[in-house]
């Protein structure tokens, strides 16, 4: 699980493979992009199914509206752009034409988190979980690796609801296998310690760092369990509550603003159902900047070290 040299692949690439599979399974699947076909890995789909691929140009508002109209006529549209532009630029179109109408459009936000690293803060998207999880009817997915992203594309096509899939440009470790179960709405325990003192809940590729942190902590005698929260909405309440009960302390880890992100979703649940101390690892009310992906992760505190520190802090709060 946390071998030293894992295979690297971006979640966007995994999604691209999944989109082709979804297209093979169901002729109603169509793909639309706002001039970012290559970037969101829709090229193979476009080559294989040119009659089901639509280029709308640099016009994300129209992208959402057109997809809503196509869904109303029975299509299953996947719309792809950078997350900053969709659901960033076109949030209200997504709210009104897609979610308010409950049309099964799949919003694919690539280059999320800090993964548009060299492009700088204007292109990095640290607010998309917050933007999408507040929308009624919307399902919010965040794959930890390319294999999970592939499964998500197929699962998203099969569910008759609006779905947001958050993707990364970064080449990140493959953590799961083809056999790892994935189901929308189900959280997965990926590292289970005996009598865990802390539960880490992570989403997205940063799960890998959470696993390394857990392993290192275990080696120093701190037992930690790690959950992959791939579906941020609807939250797998039962499993999250169970982990909080079992450990009495939670650390959430995400490549997103702490405000409104996955950790907020977990905190909203636990504050009501199982109040335990929580530490949040995420970006603290800041915009990004240019750098390598690793430089930025370190700058904003999204590192193995910071996760371990958060675990130790939350343990102290247990009293």
């Amino acid at each position: 699980m946390t071998n030293q040299q894992p295979k690297l692949k971006s979640t966007r690439a995994g999604f691209g493979e999944g989109l082709v599979l979804a297209g093979e399974k169901d002729k109603r699947v169509v793909a639309l992009t706002a001039d970012l076909k290559e970037s969101v890995c829709m090229s193979v789909f476009a080559e294989k199914f040119p009659e089901r691929f639509i280029e709308v140009g640099v016009a994300e508002q129209n992208l959402a509206g057109v997809a809503s109209g196509m869904a109303a006529m029975g299509k299953i549209p996947f719309i792809g752009s950078f997350a900053i532009f969709s659901p960033g630029r076109n949030w209200e179109q997504i709210r009104t034409t897609i979610c308010y109408n409950n049309q099964p459009v799949k919003i694919i936000g690539s280059h999320a988190g800090l993964s548009a690293s060299a492009d700088g803060g204007s292109h990095q998207m640290l607010e998309d979980i917050a933007l999408t999880r507040v929308l009624p009817n919307m399902i919010v997915l965040s794959p930890c690796d390319a294999i999970e992203a592939k499964k998500m594309a197929v699962a998203a096509a099969a569910i008759n609801k609006p779905v947001y899939i958050r993707l990364s440009r970064a080449e990140t470790p493959i953590i799961t296998s083809e056999e790892t179960p994935f189901e929308i709405g189900k959280a997965e325990m990926v590292f289970e310690a005996k009598k865990p003192k802390v539960g880490i809940i992570a989403t997205g590729p940063i799960l890998h760092k959470a696993l390394i942190a857990a392993k290192e902590l275990s080696e120093s005698g701190v037992t930690v369990s790690v959950m992959n929260l791939a579906t941020i909405k609807p939250l797998d309440e039962k499993v999250v509550i169970k982990l909080a009960k079992e450990t009495g302390a939670i650390v959430t880890v995400e490549e997103h603003q702490i405000a409104g992100g996955m950790g907020s979703a977990v905190a909203e649940l636990l504050a009501q159902k199982e109040p335990v101390p929580i530490e949040f690892v995420g970006v603290r009310d800041q915009f990004g900047q240019t750098g390598t992906y690793e430089e930025l992760l370190n700058l904003y505190g999204l590192s193995v070290l910071k996760i371990k520190q958060a675990v130790r802090r939350v343990m102290k709060k247990k009293g």
């Binding site: 002729k27 169509v30 009659e51 089901r52 639509i54 709308v56 140009g57 016009a59 508002q61 129209n62 959402a64 509206g65 057109v66 997809a67 809503s68 109209g69 196509m70 869904a71 109303a72 006529m73 029975g74 299509k75 549209p77 209200e92 179109q93 009104t96 034409t97 308010y100 109408n101 409950n102």
Partner: protein
């Protein structure tokens, strides 16, 4: 095939009934938009009682034409026309507009009224949806018949003039041209008013027809209260199989109630009981 005088007479009567229903519903609601619904009553009468291929008894009939009302705030006229056409009882509408738990929400919402093609209200979004529908229809067509377009389904989109100030609209206009959506017909309610005043003062739209032409749409400019002109424009639009069409319909906001005509203040106001009674007398 031109429209008969008898049909025109019938449509005028329907438009009058629609206007009366609009007034009655707005008075009972106590709030809502008056100018746009009265101004477009003739267009809605023409669509629901002549142009649209639809069946109020089978609202989910898959072969129906689609009507997207982008400017959702004029929904009193949409609801009134649908009620008059038999989608639901007129009395339910009069009682229910803008009331808690009613299917007739302040702006159209499909969840409460599933016979609607879409929910709307926030401006500038309908044309994208109509274009998406028109494209989806054409894609299904091509797949089934190897290049031959066999569907005659039409996709109508009603737009207010002021909502053309939204950038999203122009994205959709470009897109419909690119995809050669000949099955898409937009109708612009050119009443020259918006909530804050006259369009040409708030944000000038002219030269409006030339703008659409520059985007390579087939255009027509008509009197939106003249059924003959409406009919000719729609018939001509249907002839363009690879070009979307826009009909710029000049209308009088608040039409047929002198007190309400051409006054921006009636954009977003409902008549009081007394004002409503006076209006209904004019609409005998």
């Amino acid at each position: 095939m031109s429209i008969s005088q008898e049909k025109i007479k019938q449509l005028k009567q329907k438009a009058n009934e629609i206007r009366r229903t609009v007034i009655e519903t707005l008075v009972n609601a106590g709030s809502g938009h008056t100018a746009g619904p009265l101004g477009t009553a003739d267009i809605f009468a023409y669509l629901f009682f002549h142009a649209l291929n639809h069946d109020p008894k089978k609202p989910d009939w898959s072969e129906r034409d689609r009507l997207i009302v982008s400017n959702g705030h004029i929904c009193p006229v949409l609801y009134a026309a649908m009620a008059q056409a038999g989608y639901f009882p007129v009395r339910d509408l009069i009682k229910g507009l803008r009331k808690f738990g009613s299917p007739f929400q302040g702006h159209p919402q499909r969840k409460f009224l599933p016979v609607l093609e879409t929910s709307s209200g926030p401006l500038g979004e309908g044309l994208s949806q109509a274009a998406g529908m028109a494209l989806a229809e054409r894609m299904s067509d091509i797949r089934r018949f190897d290049g031959c377009l066999t569907s005659s389904k039409l996709f109508f989109c009603i737009l207010s003039d002021a909502e053309l100030q939204e950038g999203n609209i122009w994205e959709a206009i470009m897109f419909a041209n690119k995809e050669q959506l000949g099955n898409l017909i937009a109708i612009v309610d050119r009443n020259k008013i918006q909530i804050g005043g006259f369009t040409e003062k708030i944000m000038p739209l002219e030269p409006l027809r030339e703008k659409w032409e520059a985007f390579n749409w087939h255009t027509a400019e008509i009197n939106g209260h003249d059924f003959q002109e409406l009919d000719e424009a729609i018939s001509a639009a249907k002839e363009f199989s690879t070009k979307p069409s826009v009909i710029i319909a000049h209308t009088i906001p608040g039409k047929s109630v002198k007190e309400f005509e051409n006054k921006p203040e009636w954009h977003g106001r409902a008549p009081s009981k007394e004002e409503g009674e006076k209006a209904l007398k004019e609409l005998q």
